[in-house]
C-alpha cells in the first residue's frame, strides 16, 4: 500500500567534493560514478549509502569487495535463481562512500517467466538444503586451504634451477599466475558467499511476515529468538576464550592477565612458568580456526584477524578472568535460551488458527534449517577467508616494497587490483631486462595522496540516501539483507532535517539513558568506556568484548537479526538498529536515551 511520501533526498549530482579532496575519483574504476552520461536515469533512482558494509571511504584495492560481491549477488539473484521482481544491485561512489540501488523487473511477462525458473531452482535448494550446505562448507574449506597454500614467488638474482633443468615456467608467468589465482579465489569466495544468502534470508523473512500478519503486535525479537540457532558457530571463539579463562584460573596462571598489559607482556609472564607454558600450548590449539575471527565486519583490509591483532581476544581474556575472580557467571545462558526458544514457538503456535499454524510451524522449521548458513557464512567467508586473503595480498605488497615500488606492504591496498597487476607487470619487465623501472618514482606519491584523501574523506558525512524517494520498496534483497523497507526509507526522508529523535528497529527491549560513544572504525573500539552507549555503523561478532562494557547499542544499519541485536538480547540490554544516521547525528559525549522497545533514540543534550 502506497503512503504519501514526505521529504526528499539530495540529488547525487548536488553533493560537493570536500575541500582538498579533488581527484578522489582516481581511486575507483571509470564506471563507479554518478556521471553525466547516465544522469537522466541515475537521478530518478533511489540510492542508499551501504554503511552496513562500507562505513568508511573505500581504499582502491578494497573496492574488489564491491565489484566482485555485487557481481556475485547479481549472478545468483538474477541469472541463477531469477528472483522474479528483482535483478541485481548497482553501485556508485560519492566521495569514497558506496551507494547502492536495486534494478527492478517490472514487465509482468518476464516476471512470470522468471517465477517458473525461480520455483524450480530455489525449490531444489530448499528441498536439498542440508546436503547442499554440507557441500558448501567443504567448498569453502577447500578454497581456504588453496589460499593458504598459494605461494608468492620471489624474484632472485637468477631464475631457480627447475626453470633451467625441469622445464618449470619462468617467474614472469608464475608470479602473474599467483596474483591471478589470488584474485580468482576471491571471485570464487564471493560467488559461494551469495549462493545461499538470499534463499536463507528469504525463508526467515517469510516466517517473520507470517508472524506479523497473524500476530501484528509480536515484538520482532521474539521472531528472532524462535529462529536463532543454539549452537552458533560465531559464538564459538568467545566460548573458547571463556574456557581458556577458566583454565587460567584452574591452573593458577590467572595473575598474568592484568588490565592494561599487552598480549606480548601477558605471553612473557606466562612463559615464566610450566603451567603458563602449558596454557599457551592450549591457546595454540584454539587458534585454528577460532582466531580467524575478524576485528571488524571483514570487507576492508584493515579488519585483520585475531591472529594478526590479538588485542581483542586478550582484552576478552582479561575481562573473563576478572569476572570469574569476582564470582560472576560468564557462561551464555544457553539452557535458558533453548527453553525459551521452544516455549515461544509452542505458545505462539497454539494461539493461531489451524491454517495459520500450519504455515507457522513449517516456516519456523524451514527457517531453522536455513539459519545455520545465515549465521555461519560470515565466519567462513567474511572472516576466515577474507582476513587470510588480505594477508596473501600483503605478500605481493612485500614483493613490491622489496623492489622499491611501494613504501610499505599495506600501501598495496592504495592501488586498485588492476593497478597492482600493472605494477607487477612492470616489475617483472624491468627485473628481466635489467632496465630502470618507473614504478619506484610513480607509485609512492599516488599512495601518499590516496592515504591523505581517505583521511580527509573520513570527515565527510554521507547522507543516508540520495536520488528519488521511492513510493514502495519491492526488492527482496534490499529488504532482506539491508532491512531497507518502505517504512525505513520514508523515515529517512522525513528525518533529513535532523532533530533530537531517531527511529530504527526495536531490536532488544528496555530503556537506557547514558553517554554516547560513536565508533566509526574498529580502531576506536579501545576508546569505549564502561557504562557508555555504543553508537556505530554496524557491529561484528569480533566486537564481543566491548558488549560487556556498554549499556545499550545503536546502529545505522541492520535488522533484528543483525549481530548487535542478537548480542544485546543475550546481554539483556536495549538495542535500536537501522537508524540510518545515528553515527552522523549523535556525537561522542552526548547524553542519549535508547528505547529498545519503541525503536527510538533521543538526543537529550
Amino acid at each position: 500500500m502506497a503512503v504519501p511520501v514526505i521529504g526528499s533526498f539530495p540529488s547525487p549530482y548536488e553533493l560537493e567534493t570536500p575541500a582538498g579532496c579533488e581527484g578522489w575519483q582516481d581511486m575507483y574504476p571509470y564506471y563507479a560514478f554518478f556521471d553525466e552520461e547516465r544522469r537522466e536515469s541515475d537521478e530518478q533512482r533511489f540510492w542508499f549509502w551501504n554503511s552496513m558494509h562500507f562505513p568508511v571511504p573505500m581504499p582502491a584495492f578494497d573496492a574488489i569487495c564491491i565489484d566482485t560481491a555485487y557481481q556475485a549477488l547479481g549472478t545468483w539473484q538474477n541469472r541463477v535463481f531469477a528472483v522474479p521482481p528483482a535483478a541485481g544491485i548497482d553501485w556508485r561512489c560519492i566521495n569514497g562512500y558506496i551507494y547502492i540501488s536495486g534494478n527492478p523487473v517490472t514487465d509482468p511477462e518476464k516476471i512470470a517467466q522468471r517465477a517458473a525458473v525461480f520455483q524450480q531452482r530455489a525449490g531444489y535448494y530448499y528441498a536439498n538444503w542440508d546436503e547442499l550446505y554440507g557441500k558448501w562448507r567443504s567448498k569453502m574449506e577447500g578454497l581456504i586451504a588453496e589460499l593458504e597454500a598459494l605461494e608468492v614467488p620471489q624474484l632472485g638474482e637468477y631464475e631457480p634451477d627447475p626453470v633451467a633443468f625441469e622445464d618449470q615456467e619462468t617467474s614472469y608467468c608464475a608470479l602473474l599466475d599467483a596474483y591471478r589465482t589470488a584474485l580468482r579465489l576471491a571471485d570464487l569466495m564471493w560467488q559461494h558467499h551469495f549462493e545461499f544468502l538470499l534463499l536463507g534470508y528469504g525463508a526467515y523473512m517469510t516466517f517473520a511476515e507470517l508472524c506479523k500478519a497473524n500476530l501484528p503486535d509480536m515484538p520482532d525479537q521474539h521472531i528472532a529468538q524462535m529462529v536463532a540457532g543454539l549452537d552458533v558457530l560465531l559464538f564459538k571463539p568467545d566460548a573458547e576464550l571463556r574456557r581458556l579463562a577458566r583454565l587460567a584460573i584452574d591452573t593458577g596462571v590467572d595473575d598474568a592477565f592484568v588490565e592494561g598489559r599487552s598480549p606480548e607482556e601477558i605471553d612473557s609472564a606466562l612463559n615464566e612458568s610450566e603451567a603458563g607454558r602449558a596454557w599457551l600450548e592450549e591457546l595454540e590449539k584454539v587458534k585454528h580456526p577460532w582466531f580467524h575471527m575478524a576485528t571488524g565486519d571483514g570487507l576492508y583490509h584493515t579488519y585483520t584477524s585475531w591472529l594478526d591483532d590479538p588485542r581483542i581476544p586478550y582484552a576478552s581474556l582479561i575481562g573473563h578472568v576478572g569476572a570469574l575472580k569476582a564470582g560472576e557467571d560468564i557462561e551464555r545462558p544457553s539452557d535458558h535460551i533453548a527453553t525459551e526458544r521452544e516455549r515461544l514457538a509452542e505458545e505462539y503456535a497454539a494461539l493461531l488458527d489451524p491454517d495459520a499454524r500450519k504455515g507457522f510451524e513449517e516456516l519456523l522449521a524451514l527457517s531453522r534449517t536455513v539459519f545455520p548458513y545465515v549465521e555461519e557464512h560470515k565466519f567462513y567467508a567474511d572472516y576466515w577467508f577474507l582476513t587470510s586473503w588480505w594477508n596473501k595480498i600483503r605478500e605481493f605488497g612485500e614483493l613490491l616494497v622489496a623492489h622499491g615500488f611501494l613504501p610499505d606492504r599495506d600501501a598495496v591496498f592504495q592501488l586498485s587490483r588492476l593497478e597492482v597487476y600493472s605494477a607487477l607487470d612492470e616489475l617483472l619487465l624491468t627485473w628481466a631486462t635489467g632496465g630502470v623501472p618507473r614504478g619506484p618514482k610513480y607509485w609512492p606519491p599516488i599512495v601518499a595522496r590516496r592515504r591523505e584523501l581517505l583521511a580527509k574523506l573520513a570527515d565527510w558525512t554521507p547522507p543516508p540516501a540520495v536520488g528519488a524517494v521511492p513510493e514502495v520498496m519491492m526488492d527482496p534483497a534490499l529488504i532482506m539483507l539491508w532491512g531497507v523497507t518502505t517504512q525505513r526509507v520514508h523515515e529517512w526522508a522525513r528525518n533529513q532535517e535532523g532533530g533530537p529523535e531517531l527511529t530504527g528497529t526495536a531490536a532488544s527491549p528496555g530503556v537506557v539513558e547514558g553517554i554516547a560513544r560513536v565508533v566509526r572504525t574498529v580502531g576506536e573500539i579501545g576508546d569505549v568506556r564502561e557504562g557508555e552507549i555504543l553508537v556505530c555503523s554496524i557491529t561484528s561478532p569480533a566486537w564481543a568484548p566491548i558488549f560487556s562494557k556498554i549499556t545499550a547499542a545503536v546502529t545505522d544499519i541492520g535488522g533484528v537479526m543483525s549481530h548487535a541485536a542478537i548480542v544485546c538480547r543475550e546481554y539483556g540490554m536495549p538495542a535500536v538498529v537501522g537508524t540510518g544516521r545515528a553515527t552522523s547525528q549523535v556525537a561522542t559525549g552526548q547524553r542519549i536515551r535508547v528505547d529498545g522497545s519503541a525503536g527510538t533514540v533521543t538526543i537529550l543534550e
Binding site: 522474479p84 516476471i111 520455483q119 530455489a122 525449490g123 525463508a203 517469510t206 503486535d217 527482496p476
Partner: protein
C-alpha cells in the same frame, strides 16, 4: 428458595433462568477465577413481580404503541411503565429470599450490612451475538436488605429505559423483556478497568489489552476518563506498549455509606500510572485463565481492592466474549515453500 440461588451454584445452562451475567459469574467461580461472592435473583422473580402487581397488560399495551423510530413514543412508554413499576411492591416471597441471601452474604463478609453491587442480568445478555453492554443499570455500594430489594426493582425498571426498549425493538422483538439480577459483595476498588484477552484493534491474539483508571470501574466503562492503556504479551508478560494518561476523575464510595460519588483525582495521582509490572502480570494470568476456560477471547472487567495484597486483591467482576473482533486477512493454509515463493514474488498458481 425458588427465586434466588448462590452465584457459585450457577452454570451456563442457568442463563435462561437467571440471565447471562449471573450464569457467567457462576462459570467464572467454577473456573477458580476470583469473583466477589454473591447471589442471583431469577427471572421468575421478575415475572412474579409483574404478575402480582398486575402490570402485564399495561406493559404490553404501552409497548405496542411505540415505534423504534419515534423517540417521543418510546419516551412516553418508558416513563409510564417505569412509574407503574416503582409504585408496585416487590412480592413478599422474593423479598424474604433476598433478605436471607443478603444475611448469608453478610455472614461471609463478617459485617452486619456489607455494601453490595446490584447488577442487571438480562436474558440473552453477555451473549456472543448481541452485546447488551451498558443498556442496563448497575447500582453500587448498596447496604441493607431493604435497599437491596429496592435496587433489584430498579434493575427491573431499567429494562424499560428508552434505550433498552429501542434496542430490543431493533433486534426484531423476538427477545422477551425479562431480567435477572446479580448481587455481589462490593469490591472497594482502588484501581479498576477492563481488559481484552487480545488486541481488539489489531486482532493480535498474543496480546492482552488493559485499560485502567483510579477508583470504581464506572469511570472506565462509562468512558468518563481516558484510562491508562497497556498492551502486554501473553507469552512473555512483556509490556509491549504503555500509555499513561492524566485521569481527572474517579468514583469512590459516598462518605455517607451508600452509593458512589464522582470526585476529582488529587493532582499527585492524576498522571501517575495505575498499574505496575506485578499487577499487569496478575491481570494477564487471570485473563488467560478466563479465556482458556471459555475458549474464546474475553472482555473482562476487573478491580483491585484497597487494603489487600496481590494476588488476593484482584477480582473479576464480569466477563463476556469479545464481539466485533478485528479479523486480519486469514493466512491460507499453504506449505512453507509456497509462502517463501510468494515472498520472492513467485506466487504459486491459485486457479
Amino acid at each position: 428458595m425458588s427465586h434466588t440461588r448462590r452465584l457459585a451454584e450457577l452454570r451456563h445452562a442457568d442463563g435462561g433462568a437467571f440471565g447471562g451475567k449471573s450464569a457467567t459469574l457462576g462459570e467464572l467461580i467454577a473456573a477458580g477465577i476470583p469473583v466477589p461472592p454473591g447471589f442471583a435473583v431469577s427471572i421468575s422473580a421478575f415475572r412474579a413481580f409483574v404478575e402480582e402487581a398486575g402490570l402485564a397488560g399495561m406493559i404490553g399495551a404501552e409497548l405496542a404503541r411505540t415505534s423504534p423510530d419515534d423517540v417521543d413514543s418510546v419516551g412516553a412508554a418508558s416513563q409510564a411503565i417505569s412509574q407503574a413499576m416503582r409504585f408496585a411492591p416487590v412480592p413478599d416471597t422474593v423479598r424474604d429470599e433476598v433478605a436471607r441471601r443478603y444475611a448469608e452474604l453478610a455472614g461471609e463478609a463478617g459485617g452486619a450490612e456489607p455494601p453490595v453491587a446490584v447488577r442487571s442480568s438480562a436474558l440473552g445478555e453477555d451473549g456472543q451475538d448481541a452485546t447488551f453492554a451498558g443498556q442496563q443499570e448497575t447500582y453500587l455500594w448498596v447496604r441493607g436488605a431493604e435497599h437491596v430489594c429496592d435496587a433489584v426493582r430498579d434493575c427491573w425498571v431499567s429494562l424499560f429505559s428508552a434505550p433498552a426498549i429501542t434496542y430490543r425493538a431493533r433486534l426484531g422483538g423476538t427477545v422477551e423483556p425479562a431480567m435477572g439480577v446479580a448481587v455481589q459483595l462490593m469490591v472497594d476498588a482502588a484501581i479498576s478497568g477492563v481488559m481484552f484477552t487480545c488486541n481488539p484493534v489489531s486482532g493480535d491474539p498474543s496480546m492482552v489489552a488493559v485499560n485502567a483508571s483510579w477508583g470504581l470501574g464506572l469511570a472506565v466503562v462509562g468512558g468518563e476518563v481516558t484510562p491508562d492503556d497497556y498492551l502486554v504479551s501473553k507469552v512473555t508478560r512483556e509490556v509491549v506498549r504503555e500509555h499513561v494518561h492524566p485521569k481527572e476523575i474517579e468514583y469512590v464510595p459516598d462518605p455517607g455509606g451508600r452509593g458512589a460519588v464522582r470526585v476529582e483525582v488529587p493532582e499527585e495521582r492524576r498522571s501517575a500510572p495505575c498499574l505496575d509490572a506485578a499487577m499487569l502480570e496478575s491481570l494477564v494470568d487471570v485473563g488467560r485463565r478466563v479465556e482458556s476456560y471459555f475458549g474464546s477471547p474475553q472482555d473482562v472487567e476487573w478491580a483491585v481492592a484497597r487494603g489487600l495484597e496481590l494476588p488476593e486483591s484482584l477480582f473479576v467482576v464480569q466477563a463476556r466474549p469479545v464481539t466485533a473482533l478485528a479479523r486480519h486477512a486469514a493466512t491460507p493454509a499453504s506449505s512453507a515453500i509456497d509462502l517463501v515463493m510468494s515472498a520472492f514474488g513467485a506466487r504459486p498458481k491459485t486457479d
